[in-house]
């Protein structure tokens, strides 16, 4: 049931000041950037046997002391700033250690899920220290309560918040090494040149970092003000660098959580309820399931706010867990969503929509609906847990490791210090890893059975019970008069986005669970700091309201949070206004764009994408733009909605209209690694295409019906544009804006606009195929996981009988490389 308290909580959100008061032009973003760069940062040498250099902000801005800022317009203060301010006080712990081989080690207090930040920070340190990238070792830091806020990976903020302090620490290390080298070689410091970690004196003597590190070490912490390298002396920043983990990945060596081999950790999976967030009350056939091959434990895992739970199965292999789950008979409660339908939720949303301000002019108005979308990554939720009586150790891909640590301590009744949380590389995040669903379950199960577990979610569960982008409506009203836009009003109404991971810290997260706090502290802050209209549109109001409690549905800040929906609604309406004014969509945007950086990206795609070129019927171009994460983006797409394309037949697939070309321009301020940046943009483009055209989940009988990647129609090769061109704009500021999410909303909006122009009909519900007949037959909700096919060879076209002999014969002729070498015999028994 909708919580009555929650449906009225949008009132205070109306405090957002109107954008008409904001100064105009390109000076806008710089205001923030100057403020950030003015903050004084101090370097240190730390007492240690070898050289350890660190840096932190000295006097955090008043905003940090006052806590989270109130609603402000994102041009001045966007989500990146919120995350930067809360992170500021504790940067002192960001340290670079030089070992005796001359390697620089840095533990990154962030999570890596493919966004490439380990590569970025390797570059930053290598550049500042004149080291080859191969001698910089960046690893992920385990949960560290002393860091307070700054371990959260969210809002595309990692590079933005950590660039300056990490660079500073590297400069401290370099300077101290240089002084030491000068002393050792008996020459003045300026006589030394540094290359690849080796100092060479003009007279010819040389010494490397490894030989210097012990001599450069200090016994007491010393404040140290280094000179940073000049931008002109930087050799790596701004160049294209490949990922540091690429070789491990292509060789199949990169270790993900489920590839760990902790001793005695057994495969573990959970049988989940037929309806969302229901609780298991009894296991009807425990004894029978325990007798199944490989199965060692069957136990009830109670449902709570933190643990979805169900019935856990531990077995020798995951395959045997799956068979056991299919055999289990479990009694369940109904769960909080029973009896609600997509339609009834949409009605609840309509009732909760905040009123518009009175309009004084001609009005264009439309309401858009954005359906549930899964935040599933390719690696399902997972964790390894080893819980003993007095301590626990967890391995999982986590973006809020401190929160996980505190919560697990609470769940297990242990001291925080007795819980070690290791942050693993994740197989994608998209907002999923902000929460610790797998880690909590693994901890609880390991405690119950008294042995380590390797817990993995089934794909079907990850799709259905995993966290989603919430169902949302967005009403946009544009008021015009005298050839100008006088007023822009947007009312966003949504199933809540769960922000109870807070800002990654356990204490903050606890508070967000108090009544109304999820909304008051986070939803509203995130919405007001990310929603914006990058146009000179007179008086602007953008307000959010949410229905339900934060945990009725399983939601999270799925990649780009509110922005894909905000942007799509905005840009479609901008096209309508342009049409009303009789102006070309591109020309209209250039005329109304708020600043020069925005016009810069627009002009870039206009030229590269040949805007306005003649297109055949049922095909069209579309354009959208966005200002977010300290950057500017513009996306030009071409879409093909001709019948031969739309009606392509591919087994178990949504084909439909195809985006045939994307030209995307991004201005992130300071591009550190354009190659990585383009990768992120490209990924976001694929996400945006999916959200506009094919990708949503359908709620039926209290659960989502999609249970596989062939059901959830995320972008697949047959949807991929044959041409993708990404333009990274030259540096426009000293601040490195976010990259991981920026392109999702812009692309989704551009695809929607192109579709509207190609078909002559503006879509109002997304993805556009949500109400079309399903392209699949849903798997049952019970048993919760589908039957496992056994016809792998047949599917692969591998025929047995006819080829067996031939193959044996062929084998004999093969060269020696193929001969069976050692005989590995693995004969463990299951119980």
């Amino acid at each position: 049931m909708p919580d009555p308290d929650r449906s009225t909580n949008g009132g205070p959100a109306a405090r957002r000041p109107d954008a008409a008061d904001a100064p105009e032009g390109s000076s806008l973003p710089d205001a923030t950037e100057r403020r950030i760069s003015r903050r004084r940062m101090v370097g240190y040498l730390l007492a240690a046997p070898t050289l350890v250099a660190a840096a932190r902000f000295m006097d955090p801005e008043p905003a940090a002391a006052e806590g989270l800022p109130g609603p402000t317009i994102p041009e001045f203060f966007d989500l990146s700033d919120v995350l930067n301010v809360v992170a500021a006080p504790t940067y002192g712990l960001l340290a670079i250690t030089i070992d005796k081989q001359g390697n620089a080690h840095f533990q990154l207090p962030r999570s890596e899920n493919g966004q490439g930040i380990t590569t970025t920070f390797t570059m930053i340190i290598a550049d500042e220290m004149d080291l080859p990238m191969s001698k910089v070792k960046v690893t992920l830091m385990p949960a560290e309560p002393k860091l307070l806020f700054n371990q959260l990976t969210a809002g595309s903020s990692s590079v933005f918040t950590l660039y300056e302090p990490v660079r500073r620490a590297a400069a401290v290390a370099r300077t101290q090494l240089q002084r030491t080298a000068a002393r050792e070689l008996g020459v003045p410091g300026r006589d030394l040149t540094l290359k690849d970690g080796v100092f060479t004196a003009s007279h010819g003597g040389s010494i490397d970092f490894g030989a210097l590190t012990e001599k450069a070490a200090v016994k007491r912490m010393i404040e140290f003000e280094p000179k940073l390298k000049k931008a002109s002396a930087q050799k790596l920043i701004g160049t294209e660098q490949k990922r540091v983990d690429a070789l491990d990945i292509v060789m199949g060596r990169k270790t993900f959580t489920m590839d760990l081999q902790p001793k005695d950790a057994s495969p573990t999976m959970i049988c989940r309820p037929p309806t969302l967030n229901a609780a298991a009350t009894a296991i009807q056939n425990k004894a029978a399931v325990l007798k199944m091959p490989g199965v060692t434990h069957v136990l009830l895992v109670p449902h709570s706010d933190d643990v979805q739970g169900g019935v856990a199965v531990v077995a020798r292999t995951f395959g045997q867990c799956i068979e056991a789950i299919r055999a289990l008979k479990v009694s369940w409660t109904k769960g909080p969503i029973a009896g609600r339908t997509e339609q009834s939720i949409k009605q609840d949303l309509a009732k909760a929509e905040l009123p518009m301000t009175p309009a004084l002019g001609k009005v264009i108005e439309e309401t858009f609906t954005f359906n549930f979308r899964s935040g599933s990554a390719l690696e399902t939720n997972c964790a390894v847990a080893d819980v003993r009586k007095d301590r626990a150790e967890i391995w999982a891909p986590l973006k809020s490791p401190q929160w996980a640590q505190g919560k697990i301590a609470e769940l297990l009744k242990l001291n925080v210090e007795s819980v070690k949380v290791n942050v693993m590389d994740g197989g994608g995040s998209f907002g999923r890893r902000l929460f610790c669903d797998g880690a909590f379950e693994a901890a609880v199960i390991s405690r119950s059975i008294g042995q380590p577990v390797k817990l993995m979610w089934h794909r079907a569960d990850d799709a259905r019970h995993g966290r989603h982008h919430p169902l949302t409506t967005s009403k946009v009203r544009i008021t015009t008069g005298g050839g100008a836009v006088l007023q822009y009003d947007q009312r966003h109404t949504a199933v809540p986005t769960d922000f109870t991971q807070g800002l990654g810290d356990y204490l903050t997260a606890a508070e967000t669970r108090l009544p109304l706090q999820n909304f008051a502290q986070f939803s509203e802050t995130v919405f007001t700091t990310t929603a914006n209209v990058p146009y000179n549109f007179g008086v602007v109001t953008q307000l959010l309201n949410e229905i339900d409690a934060f945990n009725t549905f399983n939601t999270s800040s799925v990649r780009n949070v509110y922005s894909p929906d905000v942007a799509t609604a905005t840009e479609l309406m901008v096209d309508r206004v342009a049409k009303e004014f009789g102006r070309d969509p591109m020309e209209f945007r250039l005329a109304f764009a708020k600043d020069e950086r925005m016009k810069g990206v627009l002009n870039a795609v206009k030229k590269a994408g040949n805007w306005g070129r003649k297109m055949v019927p049922n095909t069209a171009q579309g354009i959208a733009m966005r200002n977010e994460y300290k950057g500017r983006t513009a996306c030009l797409v071409e879409i093909d909605c001709t019948p031969p394309t739309v009606n392509r037949k591919i087994r178990q697939a949504v084909t439909g209209p195809r985006v045939t070309k994307i030209v995307f321009a991004i201005d992130v301020g300071l591009p550190i690694n354009p190659l990585g940046l383009k990768a992120q943009v490209m990924g976001g483009c694929m996400d945006g295409i999916a959200q506009a055209l094919t990708y949503s989940h359908h709620l039926k009988d209290g659960n989502f019906i999609e249970a596989s990647w062939d059901n959830s129609a995320y972008t697949r090769q047959w949807n991929v544009p044959p041409v993708v061109e990404i333009i990274v704009m030259p540096q426009t500021s000293e601040v490195a804006g976010g990259a991981g999410e920026a392109s999702v909303g812009t692309t989704m909006a551009a695809v929607a606009c192109a579709y509207a122009r190609a078909t002559g009909k503006m879509p109002t519900e997304f993805p556009i195929n949500h109400n079309s007949p399903l392209h699949f037959t849903p798997y049952p909700a019970s048993p919760p996981v589908p039957e496992v096919p056994s016809d792998g060879l047949e599917r692969a076209g591998i025929k047995r009988k006819t080829t067996k002999k031939k193959r044996a014969a062929r084998k004999k002729k093969r060269p020696a490389a193929k001969k069976p070498a050692t005989r590995t015999s693995t004969s463990t028994t299951s119980k």
Binding site: E240, G319, A679, K804
Partner: protein, 193 residues
């Protein structure tokens, strides 16, 4: 418990496990070969793609009993050795194009890509856009355009089946100019024809 013997990455293995356990779990949970990834377990996502006697298949939907003693299973770990190299031309193309993001899907993508090229070669033709469109491997990070580019480059570098003198490493000079360090620049993938 039944015993199953077969060859994995050139090495004979013998495992005691029930007949119907799918090969993916025999590889991952019993033999501790972790290159093939789990992404669905029902033959949809293709993250587990391996080769059986040189042909792509999905071990998550193949019971171990279907694997014969003479069968050679190749996982991503065994791909380069299977052609007697330290790195397979397709893996090299993956590096040259910097395809991977999180990397979770990539072992399966590479194994599938090699199969796409080999299938085309068997039919004495080049990989077509349509072949690329038909690849079912999921990449949630959205590396698809770079995958398409890498397959083209990998194809150019892979020796053509049954050709007596394979042209070595022809792909080297095909490295796109966009890979050069630059403060800015466009990334263009795919064909513009």
């Amino acid at each position: 418990m039944p015993n199953h013997t077969f060859i994995v990455n050139g090495k004979k293995v013998s495992v005691d496990v029930e007949d119907d356990v799918r090969l993916l779990w025999v590889l991952r949970d019993v033999l501790k070969i972790h290159g093939p990834k789990y992404g669905c377990g029902i033959g949809v996502c293709r993250a587990c793609t391996c080769h059986l006697n040189g042909k792509a298949f999905n071990p998550c939907v193949t019971p171990v009993k279907d694997i014969l003693p003479t069968d050679e299973v190749t996982t991503i770990e065994g791909l380069a050795p299977s052609v007697g190299k330290a790195i397979h031309p397709m893996q090299q193309a993956w590096l040259d194009v910097d395809v991977a993001q999180c990397g979770y899907c990539q072992p399966g993508q590479i194994m599938a890509a090699v199969d796409v090229v080999k299938t085309a070669q068997r039919q004495k033709r080049k990989v077509t856009d349509d072949d690329l469109d038909q690849i079912r491997n999921v990449c949630r990070c959205g590396t698809y355009p770079r995958i398409r580019q890498a397959i083209r480059q990998g194809e150019a570098a892979m020796p053509v089946l049954k050709v007596t003198k394979p042209k070595k490493r022809k792909a080297k000079k095909k490295k796109p100019a966009a890979r050069k360090p630059s403060k800015s620049g466009a990334e263009i993938t795919g064909s513009t024809e």
